[in-house]
């Protein structure tokens, strides 16, 4: 690896790197958000208590086995293979030519969804039963309980896992180069192909990936702290008393100084 080539490649091709990084970020941000929503929905459906009515019970069993199949399939096969099957498969079998970017987002979303569904299910199970009971006791149904009480707590608890998934997505979008999505990895391959300086080009790319993942991690950490709210609370209508204590302390210290 030579420094002068590093500099030359960057100064010459930086717009391509940035564009590739932009596409990578775009796919992983949208994919993670949609996947997160899919995961929430699937997780909530899978934790609905089993109904006593027979019709409903059969229906919920059917839906549950479908969802289980979805989770197992997308967790159990490599994303690179899914990309090939979905992109080329849809073209051969149905004659549909998917837009590459749309296909990329679709693949990342359902993949993330499958992982997040399990994370969400775990998050819901870990919430104390008392929270469900208290919500039910004031008359909330399953959906109201989930939206107002359980999911806000689940989301806070699974944010670290979501951050993990986000970072994995940023890196794993590189496999989408097999369906010629012009993300960072694909762009780097073209750049390197122009001058056969593979190590320099990919070294720059690794730095770009690193900047993206570290930034995202930091942003999520800030977001977490924001969700936790302030560490202290103010007493209402009690300022007078607080004032008094402070005054007392001040008086106390001034007295001590005099003494």
């Amino acid at each position: 690896m030579e420094i002068k080539w590093l500099v030359r490649i960057w100064t010459r091709y930086w717009p391509m790197f940035i564009r590739g990084a932009g596409i990578t970020l775009f796919i992983s941000v949208i994919g993670t958000i949609i996947g997160f929503i899919i995961g929430l929905i699937v997780g909530v459906i899978r934790t609905i208590p089993i109904s006593e009515k027979k019709g409903k019970r059969v229906l919920s069993k059917c839906i549950n086995s479908l969802l289980t199949a979805y989770v197992e399939f997308f967790r159990g096969t490599p994303m690179i293979v899914q990309a090939m099957v979905i992109y080329y498969g849809s073209a051969v079998a149905f004659g549909i030519h998917l837009d590459r970017l749309a296909a990329a987002i679709f693949i990342v979303s359902i993949n993330t969804g499958a992982y997040m569904a399990e994370v969400v299910r775990g998050g819901i199970i870990s919430i104390d039963r008392g929270q469900f009971e208290a919500a039910q006791a004031i008359g909330m149904n399953h959906v109201q309980t989930m939206i107002n009480v359980v999911l806000p707590q689940v989301i806070r608890n699974i944010l670290p896992a979501t951050g993990n998934e986000f970072v994995i997505n940023i890196k794993d979008t590189s496999v989408l180069s097999v369906i010629s999505v012009t993300e960072l990895f694909f762009q780097t391959k073209s750049i390197a192909g122009n001058n056969f300086r593979y190590s320099e080009a990919f070294f720059i790319t690794s730095i770009v990936y690193l900047i993206m993942t570290i930034t995202i991690t930091r942003i999520l950490r800030v977001f977490e702290r924001k969700l936790d709210g302030p560490a202290n609370y103010d007493l209402l209508g009690n300022q007078m008393q607080v004032q008094k204590i402070e005054n007392m302390l001040e008086e106390d210290s001034s007295l001590r100084k005099k003494a």
Binding site: A134, Q136, A137, G139, N148, Y233
Partner: protein, 246 residues
Amino acid sequence: MEKVIDIQHLSKSFGTNEVLKDINFSVNKGEVVCIIGSSGSGKSTLLRCINLLEKPNGGKIIYNKENILDVGHNIYEHRTKLGMVFQQFNLFNNHNVLSNCTVGQVKVLGRSDKDAEKTAIKYLKVVGMEQYVNAKPGQLSGGQKQRVAIARALSMEPDVMLFDEPTSSLDPEMVGEVLKVMKELAESGLTMLVVTHEMGFAKEVADRVVFMDKGVIAEEGGPEQIFNNPKEERTKEFLKRILKEI
């Protein structure tokens, strides 16, 4: 006297374990009924059956002349008429004190935010927690949490309040503040059904005391009768055991 809750031949089992056997009893409007008995006697299960947190296996629960166990009875609406206070407080961890008391009013009863807030403050004042509206449950002591839980239940303006061992998980020094609030509520004429181990409270506040043993109501009557002249041998034994501990 008007019966608010009338329970007839109620039974409940968990698997093969029969927890409630042919329970018959009723609560009148404005009455304070305390249920006492040793652990595992079915007191809490009985209370939880009344707002259908547990589904009974047989019998009837007549609430304001309607059997709530009928198929198609709206259990969500039924639950809004009963306020429940749990042993473990169960405050919503993602809400602060104020919104713990408003979320049910807004989402379930459909009140406006402003009305809900006004009602919540009113009942937070009753339990003496109005200064803490901005605090999160994790920042409060046990006694404070339980008082907020009582305000949350009251904010729904229920007809009947159910208390499921409200002081059992509190430090001894915090029991008093919760019992004081409950006593004030009882004096205000609220219908209350209290499962408790606080014999002093039951003796002083209850209009009627129900003693449960092994899934049946062994004896019921005024506090004078139950605590001073129990008729049943089981009641005598239980009271002797409990009072010795104290």
